[in-house]
């Protein structure tokens, strides 16, 4: 798998990434000190690190939701520094899918409508093939019978699966998941993770997942650890120890 992935095209690329908060203020905090990394098509990458290490910040920058203080980010070959706010919004809409710890589904809409939200934002109304694709994905994650239910009528696990479909419906090149199972019980978490893993393989997206769960991280293709604002690849064999160490601190 490793060699296979190395041959695949690079989807997300970061070079010399620096992020400083409170720049120009009395105590600026540099969270990321120069991150170099890449994610290839079809790769499933786990990002680990202790709380406050900058994992979420990195994810937001890689998804064009936040901008780096320094360094270069390329998403599907496009340098995000060259884009204005509308350009960034369009890039997110077309190439990126986000999954958060909380589902953040829109309560005013049904499961299917939520799943189609990125398409609705882009096109005004989804076309028939978009609806078919969303239905196929919902079926794939076991929400076939929930499609026309309100978000509030679904369980936590169902809501998060709904959010996964929403992240995939616009056929993105990369999906960024920030502790997607963090708010679920361990069984639902396992199920949701397995689904993400399978769908990533099926759709060929680059999948970056921030997690605290060492068992889940071990099942990724690669594990990256953020420590003191720097990133480090953890060899698969040493992954368990690394995750354990990160958690132990």
């Amino acid at each position: 798998m490793g060699t296979e992935a190395a041959a695949a095209p690079v989807i997300v690329e970061a070079a010399g990434l620096v992020k400083t908060y409170g720049l120009g203020g009395p105590n600026p905090v540099e969270v990321l000190h120069g991150i170099d990394m890449e994610a290839r098509e079809g790769e499933f990458i786990a990002i680990i690190g202790q709380s406050g290490s900058g994992k979420s910040t990195l994810l937001n920058i890689l998804g064009a939701l936040d901008t780096p203080t320094d360094g270069v980010v390329r998403i599907d070959g496009v340098d995000i520094a060259t884009l204005d706010s509308d350009g960034l919004a369009d890039l997110r809409g077309r190439k990126v899918g986000f999954i958060f710890q909380f589902h953040y589904l829109l309560e005013e809409f049904t499961c299917l409508e939520n799943a189609l939200m990125p398409i609705t934002i882009q096109k005004g109304a989804p076309e028939r093939e978009d609806i078919e694709y969303a239905k196929m994905l919902l079926k794939r994650v076991g929400l076939e019978s929930q499609m026309h239910k309100r978000v509030t009528q679904m369980s936590g696990g169902q809501q998060q699966r709904n959010a996964i479909v929403r992240a995939l419906v616009n056929r993105p090149r990369v999906v960024l998941a920030d502790e997607p199972t963090g708010n679920l019980d361990s069984r639902s978490g396992q199920e949701v993770f397995a689904l993400m893993r399978e769908i990533a393989r099926e759709t060929g997206v680059a999948f970056l997942m921030v997690t605290h769960d060492d068992r889940l991280a071990q099942e990724a293709d690669r594990i990256l650890r953020i420590e003191d604002g720097l990133i480090q690849e953890v060899p698969r064999s040493a992954a368990a120890a690394a995750v354990g160490a990160a958690r132990g601190r």
């Binding site: 979420s56 937001n60 998804g63 939701l65 936040d66 706010s85 509308d86 919004a89 369009d90 890039l91 997110r92 809409g93 077309r94 986000f98 958060f100 710890q101 909380f102 953040y104 829109l106 309560e107 005013e108 809409f109 939200m117 990125p118 609705t120 934002i121 882009q122 005004g124 109304a125 929403r166 616009n170």
Partner: protein
């Protein structure tokens, strides 16, 4: 656009009580504006009609001839004034010839000219003057107006105020007076009274009709004759003393009066200048209603702004997630602006309905009848412009109120709001 409309609509529907509250705020403002505007416009129209309805808007007269001074006479003749040595110092005192009648001779022709002025609805010639109405030992001062009854009717609109006898069909022997004057003089319909003019002419007339305009000055001090009768009474021969003009819009009286005075060799009087205190009263009434409407709008705009700001804060996560899914700032701005618009439109609908109901209820209140003439206490102006104007003002105020929260939503940083989760 469909995404924005859909989301704004869902927000409003799911907003429930919050939406109802803002709609109510707009509706109340619209109701207040419609109510105040229709009521005051109606009251003013009736007031103007009662007041100006029985008098001409513009009166055209021959100016008092200016006295000729010796100095002007000297200028005209090149310094030669008979009996005065050339270069002699001249001191003259001018006195206005107030006692001289200034009648209009070619009045038919002048009527035609006046009818050409813009905004002029009707023109009629009249002989007007002061006279005494004598009955036994009583001598009461009256203003006599003599003219063709049908033509005068268009100016004074007396027919609807007639309570006894006739007016449009009077002959040269007839006089029509107000009921208060009749009461004061102790005469009834059909009795004879004598009119005496400053020209020294006295004539006897039969009281052919009585009117009640509701205006004491008119009811106590006005008498109407035929043109022929008035010409004899005031000894004007075939001439008239003034030409009366009625306009489409009474408030154009000053402008038209000035135009006529500039174009023709006549002096003009406008009702608005004759009754300055009324104009001031109307103006202050206009200002107070404007203030009431402004405050109603302001109160509702503040209400809407605060509810929308709360709604934006409540929805900040959602705004962040929408942005992460590719929503542009402009789209978010549009969503919340559309919500404001939706609230405004619903508020206008409800407010217009409420306003109409309220006005309808008010219009039903009867006025105490006098001389058997039943009337409504309030004269409500049912103008489409008032309803449309109130709605337009409410929509504008609501949109302005929505701008701040909508901008706040649009410029929200998605990272900040999502991290907060």
């Amino acid at each position: 656009m469909r995404f924005e409309i859909k989301l704004a609509y869902r927000h409003l529907v799911s907003g429930g009580g919050q939406t109802a509250l803002t709609v109510a705020a707009v509706a109340i403002a619209v109701t207040v504006i419609i109510f105040i505007q229709s009521l005051i416009t109606g009251v003013q129209r009736r007031f103007i009609n009662d007041l100006v309805g029985s008098q001409p808007h513009v009166t055209v007269k021959r100016p008092d001839p200016a006295p000729d001074s010796l100095a002007r006479a000297a200028e005209r003749t090149g310094g030669e004034v008979p009996g005065v040595a050339p270069g002699a110092f001249l001191a003259t005192r001018e006195e206005k010839q107030v006692q001289q009648r200034t009648d209009i001779e070619q009045w038919k022709q002048v009527e035609t000219q006046l009818a050409q002025f813009p905004g002029v609805r009707t023109v009629t010639s009249a002989v007007r003057g002061n006279a005494f109405l004598i009955r036994g030992a009583k001598r009461l001062g009256v203003t006599v107006s003599g003219g063709d009854p049908a033509a005068q009717e268009k100016i004074v609109g007396l027919q609807e105020d007639m309570i006894a006898g006739s007016w449009l069909e009077i002959g040269p022997d007839d006089v029509v007076i107000g009921w208060r004057l009749a009461d004061e003089a102790g005469v009834r319909l059909g009795d004879r009274v004598t009119l005496q003019s400053p020209e020294g002419v006295s004539a006897s007339f039969r009281v052919a009709g009585l009117f009640d305009t509701g205006n004491n000055t008119a009811d106590l001090g006005q008498a109407f004759l035929t043109l022929r009768a008035a010409q004899s009474l005031f000894a004007t021969r075939q001439d008239v003393s003034s030409i009366l003009v009625k306009l489409d819009d009474p408030f154009q009286a000053n402008a038209v009066a000035d135009q006529i005075a500039a174009a023709l060799p006549f002096e003009t009087e406008s009702w608005m200048r004759e009754q300055v205190f009324i104009m001031n009263a109307l103006r202050s009434q206009d200002q107070s209603r404007l203030m009431i409407c402004m405050f109603a709008l302001l109160a509702s705009a503040f209400g809407i702004a605060s509810v929308l700001i709360v709604s934006v804060v409540q929805k900040s996560r959602q705004i962040g997630i929408l942005k992460s899914m590719g929503a542009r700032d402009r789209q978010i701005l549009l969503v919340f602006t559309l919500e404001g618009l939706g609230i405004a439109l619903m508020g206008c609908l409800v407010g217009s309905g409420l306003g109409a109901l309220l006005l309808n209820a008010l219009a039903q209140i009867p006025q105490t009848a006098r001389f058997g003439k039943a009337d409504k206490l309030f004269n409500i102006a049912w103008d489409a412009e008032i309803f449309l104007g109130a709605c337009a003002a409410a929509v504008a105020a609501t949109l302005i109120a929505a701008i701040l929260p909508a901008r706040r939503a649009a410029t929200m940083n998605p990272v900040d709001v999502i991290r907060g989760g």
